[in-house]
């Protein structure tokens, strides 16, 4: 598996798109810091971008790479390798190369502006961790879609739809249901709903680390208690880990039963 990972990673890290992605984050990082000159404000703006963008890039990249690497995958399938080895290797290769672009692209400008010495280092670190998690989750989901759909256009459509659902539609439905049932106590409901979607969960995790946490507290102590302590953080991170793990399980199952 490490071999496949290594070569997929090597392949992707040299692709034009990786450079574009890396350059995008580099420019974004420098521009944000240049305009704001305030690390914590830049972290807030970055959060907005990361929470929306990393899932999108993960989805698009994941599905594009899998479709374009189909024949190569067949070559690998004819080699003495387990199927799970091949697919997990490729999945990790994509997810890691994207995460690498993210870490380096944002890491450099922020290091230059001295994030390592500031109190923002933990927020920034969390931001990167969350970005990496979202990348892994959405690459896994999109690889699943790619495996289940031979038709590229259809697969691409489903992938975009999935992203749109997680990033926008889910929140829309969430908000509507909150407004419809606002005669009932909604604290627990909203807590559960927001933990279930990795995009929402990531957003809230970062929000809580930033100084907006008291705003959340305004709706009642529940959010504060849940997210504010070590347990909430642990549960949230485990949830993200679970979100990364389950699609991979599904991916292995799908791959095992698929004809190439």
């Amino acid at each position: 598996m490490l071999k496949i990972l290594k070569y997929t990673f090597a392949d992707l890290i040299r692709s034009r798109w990786s450079y574009v992605y890396l350059a995008f984050y580099l420019i974004l990082g420098f521009v944000l810091l240049f305009l704001n000159n305030d690390l914590s404000k830049a972290v807030i703006t970055l959060m907005n971008i990361i929470v929306v963008l990393t899932p999108m890039i993960g989805t698009i990249f994941g599905i594009m790479y899998f479709y374009s690497a189909r024949e190569f995958t067949e070559l690998l399938l004819a080699q003495p390798l387990k199927r799970s080895t091949i697919f997990i290797g490729q999945y990790l290769g994509i997810a890691m190369s994207l995460s690498f672009s993210l870490l380096v692209g944002l890491g450099i400008p922020f290091l230059v502006y001295g994030v390592a010495l500031s109190s923002q280092i933990w927020d920034f670190g969390l931001l990167l961790v969350v970005g990496a998690f979202l990348t892994f989750i959405f690459v896994a989901l999109s690889v699943n879609i790619a495996l289940r759909n031979e038709n590229k256009v259809k697969g691409f459509g489903y992938a975009i739809l999935l992203w749109l659902f997680m990033a926008v539609i889910y929140d829309g439905l969430f908000l509507i249901s909150l407004m419809m049932f606002d005669d009932y106590p909604l604290d627990k409901f909203s807590l559960v709903v927001s933990v279930l979607n990795p995009v929402d969960l990531s957003r809230i995790l970062i929000l809580l680390k930033l100084d907006i946490s008291a705003l959340l507290g305004y709706t009642g102590a529940l959010f504060q208690n849940f997210f504010g302590n070590g347990w909430g953080m642990l549960i949230s991170l485990s949830m993200l880990a679970l979100w990364s793990f389950l699609p991979v399980r599904l991916l292995i199952r799908t791959a095992r039963r698929k004809d190439f």
Partner: protein
């Protein structure tokens, strides 16, 4: 009448006074001639000075019934033995300074204070340190007094077993200046206090409010700092209040705010800084208030308006990176926003006159939704919320459509 009274006093007291001591300063210490303050109080003539020397002096509910000056030298400590009040000032023209007061009593039925003043005039409480009291300085029905340079520090955690730092009730013409107040219920509490001035105080980490006003008219508070209190300042049921150049910082917490204005008329809120508060200013039922030249930075809500607020004018303020700039719970608006700087303003200025050519709408749809369904705050900064905010901005349906800043500033306004 008054003359006759004075004459009698002279006639009665003077011979005794001359016999006792020709000087007007009475030192108190264990090796002094006068060893206790209570003894000194008996011996002292009006307008004498009692100097408390270094050392710990027992002081349980000492009543000061003469106009005297009670001065502590360095290291002079009054110990209340956790019994009752420490000092009770019941006379006019009493001046207390330089003392450290510890172990005041604590009670659920009586408002024990380290220094208690009742029905006095022309007093001054200067440069004292009060440690862990129930109430720090409690002033009732007194006038023309100065409370200055004192430190009142406690470390209470519950509202019901803590008192206020400086507590004034039915007073007028007080000057409360340059005190440090922390760990109390309210840093400063004023009820029915008129024509007083609260200046340069530092009120921080109090359980409830940094400063609490009730039914107090024609007062002003200037250049104070309110940091990390349960809530910064509550001003309720008062008229003609001036609030200038104060700092309201990090009053975070559920339902916390920098400044609460409730049933206030004709006030000026000018040149204050509201930074990192859950709510910068929470306004309820307040009318004819001018908000000018204030800085609102990184608050949850810069201004939250809740019903019945008329003829308020917000002009020349800076709104920078607040989660919500202005929040309304009604579609009605009778307040004006003009020439403020809004950091989230995205318009342009073609004629380069420093004023944006497109009006700014400070109330976002999402803030309206959060008002109706508080739980929806969990969706803050999500893409969906940005999208509905944008669509509401383009065509307002839910938010007051006349709530517009027609002349938004392009650059942050500077006041020096």
């Amino acid at each position: 009448m008054r003359l006759r009274y004075l004459a009698i006093v002279h006639f009665l007291i003077l011979p005794f006074f001359v016999w006792a001591s020709p000087v007007t300063t009475i030192p108190v210490c264990t090796s002094c001639e006068v060893q206790t303050i209570s003894r000194a109080l008996v011996l002292a003539a009006p307008h004498d000075t009692i100097v408390v020397r270094e050392g710990t002096h027992e002081s349980i509910a000492l009543e000061i019934k003469k106009p005297i000056t009670l001065m502590g030298e360095s290291g002079a400590v009054l110990d209340g033995q956790n019994e009752s009040y420490i000092l009770m000032v019941l006379s006019d023209s009493v001046h207390i300074s330089g003392l450290t007061l510890i172990n005041a009593g604590r009670s659920y039925t009586k408002d024990y204070a380290a220094i208690y003043l009742s029905r006095t005039r022309h007093f001054s409480i200067v440069n004292n340190t009060i440690k862990d009291p129930f109430f720090g300085i409690l002033i009732e029905k007194s006038h023309n007094g100065i409370v200055k340079d004192n430190v009142v520090i406690s470390n209470r955690v519950r509202e019901d077993d803590s008192g206020n730092g400086v507590h004034a009730w039915h007073c007028s013409n007080l000057t409360i200046q340059n005190n440090e107040l922390s760990g109390l219920r309210d840093g400063i509490y004023l009820e029915f206090v008129k024509e007083s001035s609260i200046e340069d105080n530092n009120s921080h980490n109090n359980i409830r409010y940094g400063l609490h006003f009730m039914f107090s008219n024609h007062d002003k508070y200037l250049r104070n700092t309110f940091r990390e209190n349960g809530a910064g300042v509550a001003v309720m049921f008062s008229k003609f209040i001036e609030m200038r150049e104060n700092h309201f910082v990090q009053n975070w917490g559920t339902a916390s705010y920098g400044l609460l204005l409730k049933e206030i008329y004709d006030a000026e809120v000018e040149g204050n800084v509201f930074s990192e508060n859950t709510i910068g200013i929470f306004i309820e039922g307040s009318t004819r208030i001018n908000y000018t030249g204030n800085d609102f930075g990184r608050n949850g809500w810069a201004i939250k308006v809740s019903g019945g607020c008329y003829l308020n004018i917000f002009s020349g303020n800076n709104f920078m990176s607040n989660s919500f700039d202005v929040s309304y719970n009604t579609k009605m608006n009778d307040n004006r926003f003009e020439s403020n700087y809004w950091s989230s303003y995205s318009g342009y200025d073609i004629d380069k006159d420093g004023v944006g050519d497109v009006p700014y709408r400070p109330v976002k749809l999402f803030s309206y939704i959060v008002n109706k369904t508080p739980e929806s705050i969990i969706l803050l900064r999500s893409l969906f919320v940005d999208m509905i905010n944008f669509s509401e901005k383009v065509s307002p349906v839910f938010t007051p459509d006349d709530l517009i800043d027609n002349t938004p500033a392009m650059k942050r306004l500077r006041y020096d």
